[in-house]
Amino acid sequence: MKLPFRGAVDCDIHPAPPPMSALLPFMSDYWSDQLQNRYIDKFGFTLTSHNPLLAIHGRPDWRPKTGTPGSDIDVLRAQALDDFGSAFAICNVLHGATTLFHGDMAAAILGALNDWLAKELLPRDRRLRGSISVTLQDPKLAVAEIERCADNQDFVQVLLPALGELPIGRRLYWPVFEAAQRAGLPICLHAGSLYRQAPMGNGWPSYFVEDYVTQATAFEGALVSLLAEGVFRKFPDLTFVLAESGVTWLPQFVWRQDKMWLGVRTELPWIDRVPREIIRERVRMTLQPFDAPSDARVIQRIVEHFESDDILLFSTDYPHWHFDGDDVVPDGFTSELIRKIAIDNPYATYARLPRPVAPARNRTEVSA
């Protein structure tokens, strides 16, 4: 169904990365020279995880006449913001530089990307907000970048790939979490792999569809890592947003963690309460792609399995193709739940988003 009101916060949209030539002005002379000497500015940097040719990565009516999906800001404004009546949309620009092994080069490109976002893209529409892209090749560089960008209130979270080089909960990465928590920024683990290793524990599948389906198992891996390594305990004010993760796998995951914790909690004494409570308080998931059958009765049961209406955050995943028309909300979601995921939960998750003074329901609700 469509959103029954205006004023939603869209927690995951994807402007296309700009051409490298647009980022050169935001780099030091050394890196600008390097990228030009190496011809990196002349070729693409296309993420295997985000291949724009694939049907799923560009809804047919959301593909601009020229360029890749999400590359035309005017089209994006009309389709992603106006058509859904969004109050805000969080821009997760997925850039190939995140996969670079050369940490300094990755930091130079991603730093330029953050500057381009802050100075070129976000000012184009007051509803757009950004995510800070960082490389984890050297966590110190990520910390420095978070600190450099944090004062700009248009950045609302830190963006990391869900399938990285090491499980994300490892202590090696804790300085990054420390910096994000200090700045009041959630960490967004977004779908996509660096492909440092196969996207699943069984080895390398042949097809992207397999990568995309089994990605949910890697999200489980990331989440169990955060839990087991004690990240939630160590960083009590840090929220983790799982973006484009799919959502229906979470209840069974929680059940398994709860049960296993009872059996093996002496291995992990720092997990001091049942995992379901931790996850309910600290983990959020974006709505699309919503991976359930279209039967409203099934969907209502799934919602109940979550045992919480705090977890989901509204998203279109624009310009990705997970639904047609404005049929963005699964049938079976109650209007209360829709209000929670589209308004209350996003504002609670992203403290930097200025919530309208009057409750949205009294101002902007449209009659059905």
């Binding site: 000497n37 190496r38 011809y39 990196i40 002349k42 070729f43 693409g44 940097f45 296309t46 993420l47 295997t48 995880s49 291949n51 040719l53 694939l54 049907a55 190939g96 995140t98 996969t99 670079l100 092994f101 050369h102 940490g103 080069m105 090749q137 080089e165 792999s193 660096l194 492909y195 440092r196 290793q197 196969a198 080895g203 390398w204 599948p205 042949s206 097809y207 992207f208």
Partner: protein
């Protein structure tokens, strides 16, 4: 180094000038559309609506970006557009003609069939590239010969493709990437060696930028291109170790292997190390009855570029003595950035006989070039 030293005449003498065999010449299609005449409609659609799906985080860029011009000679980009290695005319002008190349072995690495995860697509692409090589290159210049490229992960298809091409003398070897999903001596790859031995064609291994989906070094993923480049040598040692200890050369006694662009000065130490430990551990590998260095010496050829350069030229000479002067073959790696000009490739002084072996005789004998 003085100007006088650098300005050398063409290799050898006028007599030998037109007799160079270059064992590593890179060609690539200007774009995927170049291959369309040989690609069924299903796969032309696939190129445009799905594209590559490889074991790496990015495509159309190397995971370890090269230092200059995307790893190419900057002057090798054709004026009319397209990547280096897509223009026969430019290759003739820059390399084949001025450097007196009598035969050139095409190494068509482009378009990623070795790292493509969709095996149906990889098969269609390799079939098309093999046909394209003949029509657009070998048939256009009599100096050129080709390597049959096959996707190693689909050994059944690879063997069929080799069998289809085996009697066509425009092909003189089979090309594989040493960075497979598993070490290439494993049995799942044996159909390729069965077909190669039956066809009487050597199997060449040439490093590819992306690989089998695991770190390119046993020490983990490198950070810099300098480190990644070192793996070209270590990966080659790994593939030879695997072939030998899996018993491939026992099972395929006529199989010949060429290590292209992997360096060669590590080969003697590899042989010594294998022999030393085989001697103690041979009970584990009863299917390898002879000292491993013997397989290395009998079955493996090496190309020169990029050549390690010892400060003392006697040291490099020692290495070639141990390796065998009949096992080393000149390669230029045109049009890559570290191209070896045949006039300057060797810093050591070679006798006429040694020069003849390295610059033409060894390759002519191995590939049956006349």
């Amino acid at each position: 180094m003085s100007h006088a030293v650098l300005e050398r005449p063409p290799v050898g003498s006028a007599r030998t000038r037109t007799r160079i065999v270059d064992c590593d010449l890179h060609i690539t299609a200007r774009s995927a559309a170049d291959l369309y005449p040989w690609l069924p409609q299903q796969w032309r659609t696939h190129v445009e609506t799905v594209g590559p799906h490889i074991r790496a985080g990015v495509y159309n860029q190397e995971p370890h970006p090269r230092m200059m011009a995307r790893g190419m000679r900057a002057d090798a980009y054709p004026e009319e557009g397209g990547p280096p290695g897509c223009s026969l005319e430019l290759m003739r002008k820059q390399h084949l003609d001025p450097n007196g190349i009598e035969f050139g072995m095409l190494i068509a690495l482009g378009r990623g069939i070795f790292e493509e995860r969709n095996q149906h697509f990889a098969a269609a692409l390799s079939h098309a590239i093999n046909a394209w090589q003949l029509e657009r290159w070998v048939d256009e210049d009599e100096r050129l010969v080709a390597a049959i490229i096959v996707p190693q992960e689909d050994a059944e298809f690879a063997a069929q493709e080799i069998e289809r091409r085996a009697s066509d003398r425009r092909f003189r070897q089979i090309l594989l990437s040493p960075k497979a999903q598993e070490p290439l001596g494993r049995k799942r790859y044996w159909p390729i060696y069965t077909a190669a031995e039956r066809a009487g064609l050597p199997v060449a291994f040439h490093p590819a930028a992306t690989g089998g989906g695991h770190p390119s070094s046993g020490a983990g993923w490198p950070t810099y291109y300098l480190e990644e480049h070192n793996t070209f040598g270590t990966i080659m040692q790994g593939v030879l170790t695997s072939l030998i200890f899996e018993g491939v050369f026992e099972r395929f006694p006529k199989l010949k292997v060429v290590a292209v662009e992997g360096g060669f000065t590590w080969a003697p130490t590899l042989g010594w190390r294998m022999d030393k430990h085989w001697n103690r551990l041979r009970g584990e590998v009863p299917h390898v009855p002879r000292p491993p260095s013997e397989y290395l010496r009998e079955h493996v050829w090496f190309t020169t570029q990029p050549m390690e350069e010892a400060r003392n030229q006697d040291h490099l000479r020692d290495i070639i003595d141990w390796l065998g002067w009949d096992r080393l073959m000149f390669s230029s790696d045109y049009p890559h950035w570290d191209f070896d000009d045949p006039r300057y490739a060797f810093k050591i002084v070679l006798s006429e006989e040694e020069r003849a072996k390295i610059f033409h005789d060894n390759a002519k004998a191995l590939y049956g070039l006349k």
